[in-house]
Structure formats: C-alpha cells, structure tokens
Symmetry: C2
Subunit: 217 residues, 2 copies
C-alpha cells in the first residue's frame, strides 16, 4: 500500500531514491529511537527532537503539557516528522560525488491529544520503540504521572522514504585517477549496561536490557 503522492511529499532530487510504500516507511520508522518534529509558531519554523512510538499510521509523541512542541502541535496545525539513519560515508574519487548511504523518512500530518483511556497503550508504544519489553518490568504510571503527561497522536497523511545504498559513482574519466574510493560503514551499537549507583543488591539485569545489548551490537 502506498501513500498518496503530490508536490508535498514527492522526492524531487534523485527521484529513484524515493519510496512511498508503507512497508518501507514503517521499516525505517521502526528502526529509530528519536525523530525530529517540525512545526510553525508565530510564522517561525521550530524543530525539536523527541521520542516516538508507532502503531500503523499513528505516531505517538509525549511530553509535559507546558512543552513548546506539545502546546503547539496539539492544536492540529500541520506538522512534519523525520527519522534518519546514516549507514555509511561514500567516498568517491571526485569531491563532487562524495555522498552518504542513508535511510530517511519524512511524514506529513497533524496531531491530536488522545484520551486518558488511550494513554497507557500509547506510552507503551513509545517505551517499546526505545527498548522492547521494558514497559512490563517497570512500575507503571500512576494517575498523577498520567495527568502530567500529554500524549499526542500524529496521523501520517503522506510520507516518503529516501534511501541510498551502494558504493560511489564517479564520472568515467575519474576511474583512472590514483585516488582511493570506497565506503566507511557506520553503525550504532549498545555497550554493556551500567547499574545505577543506588541499585539494590541482588537485582540482575532484566531480559529487556540483556536482549537489547546483545542484539544491538
């Protein structure tokens, strides 16, 4: 299934790198832990990094009611949201053809405040996006904490993914030059978890932490 394509979400530069199918968009969104949100306030564009969780075309965002982002985007104004993964540096023979391999999504839509009943499920989605199965291990939010947290649901109206993979692509004559070309892969890894200084004795690292550290390396 594809998102509708128009001037707003069409990939203009290097259109062959553009993708509009939900599967590709979801895959890139699900591989991230923070997104950047862009919104307008007083004719000024703002940008804010924040956590998110996804369920189908709904992206959950949370924050204190007093946060600038929450205050503004809960009013239903147009919002755009980006998730970007940088996979490698692509080194060509010419400066001009240097590039990056990346997977990015830009999504367009607007946000609404969700009801108290929906909050827990949405907060779990955000928690799962950062580290799966941690939610079940924690002391869950009480009424006061839930009240202090505004949760928004951003609905993806349109999105596009942009992906570059592979090696450098130089102009033909440049292949004869004595210049190294190739790729430097970049990777995000998780290092060994560190116990809190105030951790009670005898509490082992839970499943969520163990599997995160092992799968992310």
């Amino acid at each position: 299934m594809k998102y509708p394509i128009n001037e707003r979400n069409k990939v203009k530069r290097v259109p062959k790198r553009g993708h509009y199918d939900k599967e590709t968009v979801y895959e890139i969104l699900d591989a991230g832990n923070i997104c950047h949100i862009s919104f307008i306030h007083n004719e000024q564009p703002f940008i804010i990094p924040t956590l998110y969780g996804r369920h189908q075309d709904k992206i959950y965002l949370h924050g204190a009611a007093s946060s600038r982002m929450i205050e503004n985007i809960q009013q239903g104004f147009p919002v755009s949201l980006a998730v970007t993964h940088v996979d490698s540096i692509v080194l060509a023979r010419s400066a001009f053809h240097h590039s990056m391999n990346y997977r990015s999504v830009v999504a367009y839509g607007s946000a609404r405040v969700i009801s108290e009943e929906e909050k827990l499920r949405a907060l779990k989605a955000i928690s799962d996006q950062v580290i799966e199965d941690r939610w079940e291990e924690t002391r869950l939010p009480n009424a006061k904490e839930l009240k202090a947290t505004t949760v928004l649901e951003f609905e993806i109206e349109q999105a596009s993914a942009k992906i570059r993979t592979g090696g450098p692509s130089d102009d033909k004559p440049d292949y004869d030059l004595d210049i190294w070309a190739g790729v430097i892969p970049l990777k995000n890894i998780a290092e060994e978890a560190i116990d809190d200084d105030l951790l009670r004795k005898g509490i082992p690292r839970p499943k969520s932490v163990q599997s995160y550290v092992n799968t992310f390396k």
Copy 2:
C-alpha cells in the same frame, strides 16, 4: 560568549539542561555529520536531513539548485536547524522516569546564497565535517560541478543546547522496588572501510580513511 535568549530559543522544559554559550553549541554541532533543517513553504512546515559544515556562526549547506530545501531557504525566510546526539538510554524503576541522555542543538537564523568565490571554502568545510582531510585527497570540483551546486550560508542568530547526562532519577519510594535501573550507553562506530569494486589495484587506504576508522571506534 552567549547567544541572546528570548522566547524563541529559551529551553522551556527542564531549564537546567539548557545552555546558551557558543562553546557548548559549537561542540555539539561539530560532533555531528547530519543536521535536520526546518522551513516553511505554503504554510506547511518541511523537514529535511542534510550535511553541513560550520565556521564560527556560519553553517554551510549545499544541494542542487532544484532541491526543495535550497529553493526555499535561499530566499532568506526563517529557518531552524537541529543536530542531535543520543548518548544512552536511561532506565528508571518507574516507567515515568525513563529518559535518554542526549546532546542537542537547535539554531535559529536564515540562509543566503554565497558567492562563487566563497563556494570552494564552504564545500571544504562540509567535506571536513563528514571526514577530515578527505578534501585534499580528491579530484576537486570543476567549473561545471561548482555551477551545479548551490551553497548556502545559514547564520546562527540564536541557538540553544540541551544536554542530559547521568543515571535515572526515581521517586523516593521507588528505590525500594525490586526493579533494575541503570543506563545503556549507545555509540556510533565506524567499521573497517570497504574498497570500491572498481578501485584500481595498488591504491592504499588514504590517511583520512585510516584516521577516521581508528578514532571513531
């Protein structure tokens, strides 16, 4: 030296995490390789990830003249720009106090097209930001390539940095719970470089690549 603080760049949530001195802002900008740019077009906020280079309060951005970002922001409209590093996942005993350690900068300003004479210096700054000293090893841009590239200079009028470090901070009664708490450090690493398939025989990995791979691990 500090950026002027007003409603636009003031850190509203957890103000103690906010920093406005240029040294801190520069350090976070210089540690990144991509930024996200937010701008307005037809009353719609757009967001685009892109490479950048910095010299003092000037941030250089480049692209094809036909790119949506270049086309729009070169007109001098207000722009905001974010660079974000996620350093660790902070796991508290309560779901509510889970957090991330991060270093982020949001900068506000506007962009102008730079002159042909300034282009080479600005493109070198962008190249150095991705991988230092690579510029000198490459076949430098020719007149045609320079003409095809628009280079913008975004001047930072205001900025703020936001930084969280350290472990979780739980509510007092929660410290008695049998729940693990701590931090999972996240790291970006560079893996061993991969030669281009079409690399001529006998060309060793250059200095820029060797030092990048070694220092980034």
